[in-house]
């Protein structure tokens, strides 16, 4: 359902969209009543705990659970023998959930117990004997690519290279995107710069550890309460991994305490289900923070080489990137997204990005906010900054001279529709921050960023209640206030007050399939489906009014929350409100509901420009962020406070990544900092206020022009901060 050509969201007077009402789930969250993953319990519930490998790479010769099983209070133990091979497309997920022949990283699950208390479960883990044959390991991406590196998977042959390799390696695949011939482009350049970069893995760092409560009966039916970004994904994946019918597993998404992409797969959920089935009792399984760091999915670490050429007038003539991501012990790092996004901000004739997906003895990576893009943007934007300096051009000017715009063929293939990068660059240049004087030891950095945004499968149900209120059921877990936006869009369409609509995240048995809350897709696609469901309901409300008046349904229009005859010829009837039509629904045909099911496309790409001032203490080297401004295209901001919140949150995560977050592996292959004390995410005293500018260039793919905003904001910070702290003052 695209934007109507006759409808301009920039000039349309919205009644609710663009205002800042209180979120419907807010009260519960400030009084401590909201129920998150670990907040559920069930009668007769057992406590689950997972035994994890202390070795980064080891063959598992045998697992002896006999002594643990005899401990009073132990009700079930599961190991690799309890998870049978099934769907080949889920093999890596299965092996990651429970190690098979080898432990592939420090923290890899090898066994799990369910017991009557946490202390019994802990004791039971100590009684499980695992016979390991320790193997050589590798945790660095460049080391893992070298000939002679320890091999993780004897059957891994690099895909997409000619001729196909005969020998196993840690390189899962190669990918390539672009057009033209960069070598040709470099010949036309006045200045060519090539630089090599490395970035370490970071963790999403959601404050709520993974948690679930599973209950499976001997009748084969099960229920699962879980904090996840996608409970339908959890249902389908778990049903396949533990061998259940999809229809027999009902999954309810709890309130979710942050995800940022890290809760888009399964880790403990199949284990909890297997334990519950074996014990015949509900099992609650909650990760500790150490487990979250060691065994959930951080992002990839990266090694990158970027080469860009420009003329002295600031035209980019050629761009090339060679990008190597390690994504942990399994294929599937976000290398394609990294390579595709590398040069997506620019309009280039000669551009190529080559990517390599590499495995190492680290936990299987999971999506992290704009997966793959921040580190590649760091490399590309850094080289651009250096080029601007070299040719004596303002860095914003250099970007504006090369900015992608409507009709540009993107570096990853498709032509852009209407986009907002130039508008963001102009807005950044106009912002007072851009010209503000800098203090001693301070520098200013600027960088641009891009994210694709996604649509995907979405299903929404909207029920009109007897009193004229509306119940809106969506299937995308609310990770940052999306229920407020959905209520606003439904109320906007229906012409009723915001607080007359109540949105819930329905369980998997109550509503049709929905893709995960990821890819900045929710406000776009669930919003689109909500608007369509409201319009569906309006059609039915109009038909009921027509029936009451005894006129044709086409002769009724919906206006300001009321049905009225379309014109004098239709008849002279007093308008009927939604509440009035709802009250008599039983007499006019029964319940009134609107629905919409869609596989949404047209998500509309999003761009941002960040400005950062940093101060470096000349004695200690400590870097302090003094001022930060995020400028980003939202298409149309439904609830501006939560749009700003996404801008600010992404920037803060980027600041952490740039300054003090990293996975540190020791020579022993073990993670050295699996806790918030040593893996230090920014605290309030580390940051300044984060200023935001919402640019609105409507997305032609959404009825109100919405673009997703969740991810782009983490893309520019790494380069912006690096330039700021390097003290390169704006020229």
């Amino acid at each position: 359902m695209p934007l109507d050509a006759k409808f301009d969201p920039a000039t349309h007077h919205f009644r609710l969209v663009g205002t800042r009402p209180l979120r419907p789930d807010g009260y519960d969250k400030v009084v401590g009543r909201a129920r998150f993953g670990a907040d559920a319990s069930a009668p007769g519930m057992l406590v689950g705990r997972i035994l994890r490998s202390p070795h980064p790479h080891a063959r598992i010769r045998a697992i002896d659970t006999a002594r643990a099983a005899k401990l009073p209070g132990v009700k079930a133990i599961v190991t690799r023998d309890d998870f049978k091979d099934g769907d080949p497309s889920l093999k890596d997920v299965l092996v990651n959930v429970m190690a098979r022949d080898k432990a592939l990283y420090d923290g890899h699950a090898v066994a799990a117990v369910a017991a009557t208390s946490a202390s019994v479960a802990r004791k039971a883990l100590k009684l499980i004997r695992v016979d390991y044959e320790i193997l050589p390991h590798v945790t660095d991406v460049d080391e893992a690519m070298k000939p002679g590196a320890p091999i993780l998977h004897g059957d891994m042959r690099t895909e997409n290279i000619e001729p196909a390799p005969k020998k196993a390696s840690n390189v899962a695949s190669r990918c390539e995107f672009g057009h033209g011939d960069p070598e040709q482009g470099f010949k036309q350049a006045d200045v060519v710069i090539e630089r090599r970069f490395k970035t370490e893995a970071t963790h999403q760092g959601y404050i709520e550890p993974h948690a679930c409560l599973a209950s499976v009966g001997s009748d084969g039916q099960g229920e699962l309460w879980v904090c996840t970004q996608g409970h339908y994904m959890v249902r389908n994946t778990c049903a396949a991994l533990v061998g259940m019918d999809v229809s027999k597993l009902r999954v309810t998404a709890s309130e979710i305490g942050g995800g940022f992409g890290g809760k888009t797969t399964v880790f403990i959920e199949p284990v909890a289900l297997a334990l519950s089935r074996k014990a015949g009792k509900p099992v609650k399984l909650v990760m500790s923070r150490e487990e979250v760091f060691r065994a959930s999915g951080p992002t990839s670490s990266a090694s990158m080489t970027v080469k860009i050429g420009v003329t002295r007038h600031g035209r980019i003539t050629g761009a090339h990137a060679d990008i190597r991501f390690q994504g942990g012990a399994f294929a599937g790092s976000p290398i394609e997204l990294g390579a595709m996004s590398a040069f997506a901000c620019y309009d280039l004739e000669h551009v190529k990005a080559v990517g390599w997906d590499v495995v190492t003895n680290r936990p299987k990576q999971a999506a992290y906010r704009a997966p793959g893009a921040p580190m590649v943007a760091f490399a590309v934007e850094s080289v651009l900054d250096e080029l601007a300096h070299k040719i004596g051009m303002d860095p914003v000017e250099l970007r504006l001279k090369n900015t992608a715009k409507e009709g540009t063929r993107s570096s990853y293939g498709p032509k852009y529709n209407r986009i907002g990068l130039a508008a963001c660059l102009e807005a950044a240049r106009r912002h007072p921050h851009y010209e503000a004087p800098l203090g001693p030891n301070q520098g200013r950095g600027i960088a641009a960023g891009f994210w694709f945004n996604f649509g995907g499968q979405t299903c929404v149900s909207l029920n009109v209640n007897i009193d004229g209120t509306v119940a809106l059921a969506v299937g995308t877990p609310d990770i940052g206030g999306s229920r407020a936006s959905m209520c606003m869009m439904a109320a906007e369409e229906l012409g009723i007050e915001y607080d007359k609509v109540r949105a819930i995240v329905a369980d998997t048995s109550s509503l049709g399939y929905n893709d995960i809350s990821e890819g900045s897709r929710v406000t776009f696609s669930t919003g689109l489906a909500t608007i369509a469901a409201a319009r569906d309901a309006i059609g039915k409300l109009c038909a009921r009014a027509a029936k009451i008046w005894g006129i044709a349904p086409e002769a009724v229009v919906w206006e300001n929350g009321r049905a009225r005859p379309a014109g004098p010829n239709a008849g002279d009837f007093a308008p009927l409100s939604l509440a009035e039509i709802a009250k008599t629904a039983a007499k006019t045909g029964g319940p009134i509901a609107g629905h919409h099911e869609v596989n949404a496309d047209g998500a509309g790409v999003s761009f941002a420009v960040h400005l950062c001032d940093a101060e470096v203490d000349p004695e200690t080297g400590r870097v302090t962020i003094k001022r930060y401004t995020v400028v980003q295209d939202a298409g149309k901001a439904i609830h501006p406070s939560y749009v700003e919140g996404q801008f600010q949150g992404g920037a803060a995560q980027g600041i952490g990544w740039a300054l003090n977050e990293e996975y540190v592996y020791g020579r022993d292959g073990r993670l050295q900092n699996p806790g918030f004390l040593d893996y230090r995410i920014p605290v309030a005293s580390d940051l300044p206020m984060i200023d935001t500018v919402i640019v609105e260039v409507p997305n032609p793919g959404h009825p109100y022009g919405v673009r997703g905003v969740g991810e782009t904001s983490i893309v520019p910070p790494l380069a912006a901060i690096d330039k700021a702290k390097a003290g390169k003052k704006r020229r």
Partner: protein, 156 residues
């Protein structure tokens, strides 16, 4: 097992717990007060913040047995008779929460901060709340909400 009598949000409560059980586990698992969250279990994130005789502590680092004869304050006790505290109102008004899992700890810590210092500077708020991690907001809206709540409370 240890038998403990304490006051929680003003009400006398008696519970039994294991000697090595944390106050956080007692609150959550035995008393069904799940407002305090476990984000780390090592005193680094502040999601489990409660007050003990008025002082903010990480309840994951306090034993249940230590609550004997003390006053415990949790997020569930901040609103009184169904009326939200100004901090709770401003957190909602300023969109100072996204996922909301750190919110109980922030509210407990911010309430104690404002009781100590009714007119804190931005820096005092930032350092006063530096023991509480939030991964969603970048703290901007949290700091503004605390500033606004402080102003509202000073007006009375």
């Amino acid at each position: 097992m240890v038998r403990v009598t304490t006051r929680i949000n003003g009400d006398e409560v008696t519970f039994v717990c294991e000697p090595d059980e944390t106050l956080l586990d007692v609150l959550r698992d035995r008393l069904n007060l799940t407002g305090a969250k476990e984000g780390c279990g090592t005193g680094d994130c502040g999601a489990c913040s409660v007050t003990l005789d008025g002082r903010v502590v990480c309840s994951c680092l306090v034993l249940g047995a230590e609550a004997e004869g003390r006053q415990v304050g949790t997020v569930e006790g901040i609103a009184r008779n169904g009326k939200l505290h100004p901090l709770q109102e401003k957190f909602l008004e300023f969109a100072a929460l996204q996922c909301g899992v750190c919110t109980p700890g922030f509210l407990v810590a911010a309430k104690a901060l404002l009781e100590r210092n009714p007119d804190p500077t931005e820096a005092e708020i930032r350092f006063g709340l530096a023991g509480n991690l939030c991964r969603c907001t970048g703290y901007d809206k949290i700091v503004r909400a605390v500033q606004a709540a402080a102003a509202a409370m000073r007006k009375g």
